[in-house]
Symmetry: C2
Subunit: 137 residues, 2 copies
């Protein structure tokens, strides 16, 4: 059974090693049968080897920064600020953790959009980029 | 200072009262100066009265079900399955909680997309709808 502090440290190590392209450390935080899912494109990657390779082969110049981290027993959620070829994106991930390792990651990549009409009387529009939330805790 | 169990119960009450259109209970979980943000459209709603009204006026026939809930001290993250006029969507929310009330909600609504070419050798495509994750904990 994983505790919240252990989960928090594990997810930090996941993102720190990914940011550093430290593939040995990244592989070491993953369960052998890790499952990575991107529900928006209905894609699934199964197994440590493929998932490390997916990240190694990821095209473009990218940097990421953790902006939120919520850990709760053997689950966690995070948001990241992701800059790809100069374009800012937000990534949202839910984690399932087991035996000190990352067992499942579910990743979402919401995109900018325009609000539907009819709620202007309640809403203000913010300047700037998607998700202005600052560096993570 | 809010504890994890209190936060978890508060976020459940937030979604339960929203699902039930129980506006009195919904208003009672919100701080007077609650801030609701949708970073994708750079929209912000400030204050309990406006935010309750936003939900009361939300157009269309909708149902929601909580699918994930991660609580961590005075923060939480959740995913919901949202069906609007027969169409399934996934909503993702991060919460800031204070004094037993919801102080901030940041909502994301990722949309289905097609994967870029070049990773077919690592990925399987799943049938079915966006985010097949089941009912929440």
């Amino acid at each position: 059974m994983m505790g919240t502090e252990q989960s928090r440290a594990l997810v930090r190590r996941y993102f720190d090693s990914l940011t550093a392209r430290d593939w040995d450390t990244f592989a070491a935080v993953l369960a052998d049968d890790v499952v990575y899912e991107m529900p928006q494109s209905r894609e699934r990657i199964t197994g440590k080897e493929r998932y490390v390779r997916f990240n190694q082969e990821y095209p473009g110049e990218w940097e990421l920064a953790l902006t939120r981290l919520v850990a709760d027993g053997a689950t966690a959620a995070a948001s990241i600020s992701f800059v790809m070829d100069g374009e800012h994106q937000v990534g949202l991930a839910f984690f399932e953790l087991a035996d000190g390792l990352v067992a499942q990651v579910t990743d979402f990549w919401p995109e900018p959009n325009e609000p539907p009409p009819g709620r202007e009387h309640l809403v203000e529009r913010l300047p700037g980029r998607l998700d202005h939330f600052g560096p993570g805790r």
